[in-house]
């Protein structure tokens, strides 16, 4: 068993009248128990060189139904460049330059793919999956 922790910290001095600051930490565990996730696809980078067509990053058919965790980061430094993130054929949102996302993924169906669609050529996405097997 491995112990992997994820911590998010959110802060703003001026989004509200008073300052905002909070932090949440969690340990990545298998579904319904306290056993740590032990498998990962590793930290990887994908460059979509041309055509910027939609690309299947994680195929729902390739993973068992479980408490997987997904990390994504748009490494672009050009503010206008984004990756459209689609899950199960539904648009989740757009990951702009420097943005990251971290969310659970159940892979509950063969169609529950995670797809990315870059807005420009030669964009690089950094990604990692923590696998519940």
């Amino acid at each position: 068993m491995a112990t992997t922790t994820a911590t998010i910290s959110l802060s703003s001095p001026d989004l509200l009248t008073d300052s905002l600051a909070f932090s949440t930490a969690s340990t990545l565990t298998k579904a319904g128990n306290a056993t740590g996730l032990t498998l990962t696809g590793g930290l990887a980078r994908k460059k979509l060189a041309s055509g910027h067509a939609q690309y299947t990053l994680f195929d729902g058919d390739a993973y068992a139904n479980g408490a997987h965790k997904i990390y994504l980061k748009n490494t672009s430094t050009t503010a206008a460049e984004y990756f459209t993130i689609e899950i199960n054929s539904e648009q989740m949102g757009k990951l702009y330059a420097g943005d990251w996302a971290f969310f659970p993924w159940e892979a509950n169906a063969d169609t529950n793919d995670i797809k990315i669609d870059p807005s420009a050529d030669d964009m690089v996405l950094e990604y990692m999956i923590f696998i519940d097997e």
Binding site: A2, T3, T4, T5, A6, T7, I8, S9, L10, S11, S12, P13, D14, L15, L16, L20, F22, T24, S26, T27, T29, A31, G32, N33, A34, L37, T38, T40, L43, A67, H68, Y71, K73, A79, A80, Y82, I85, I87, N88, S89, E90, Q91, M92, G93, K94, L95, Y96, G98, D99, W100, A101, F102, F103, P104, W105, E106, N108, N112, M128
Partner: protein, 147 residues
């Protein structure tokens, strides 16, 4: 313009032979700009006592602001490792947040009932859930009726 920063730390000393440490900080900007997002639903903590699906951020889209963009934070505050919330978008499942888990994702709502965020608790015995959206959408209402 507001400056809201979000940081993720992913750390492990034993997932690999070597230690893992990933740290990322980004700022919440309007789409395609370096202008900070200036609206929020506020950090909400709610105690749910039913397994009924609900929308934490009801969308009533009409007009559209320029450079719309949004971020969503959701956390399951339960301490019972078997309890989870199923998080979906547009009636399709993203995944399950088990006790103590959180998520942070971009969100681009299109229209009412189209790609709303949905939360479904696994138990009716009571769970605390936290959620927040930071955005610049024209119409995200905290208390509107939804289906």
């Amino acid at each position: 313009m507001a400056t809201t920063t979000n940081t993720l730390l992913l750390e492990s000393t034993d997932l690999f032979d070597d230690s893992l440490s990933i740290s990322n900080t980004s700022t919440c900007y309007k789409a395609g700009t370096t202008i900070g997002l200036d609206q929020t639903t506020g950090l909400t903590r709610t105690y749910v006592t039913a397994t009924t699906q609900f929308d934490p951020f009801p969308v009533v889209k009409g007009t559209t602001n320029a450079n719309e963009n949004g971020k969503v934070y959701i956390a399951n505050l339960s301490e019972d490792e078997t309890e989870f919330i199923t998080v979906g978008i547009g009636d399709l499942v993203i995944g399950k947040l088990y006790a103590g888990d959180f998520m942070w994702m971009p969100w681009s709502p299109k229209a009412q009932h189209v790609n709303d965020i949905e939360i479904t608790p696994s138990v009716a015995t009571g769970m605390n859930i936290e959620f927040m959206s930071i955005h610049n959408f024209a119409n995200i209402y905290p208390n509107s009726a939804d289906s």
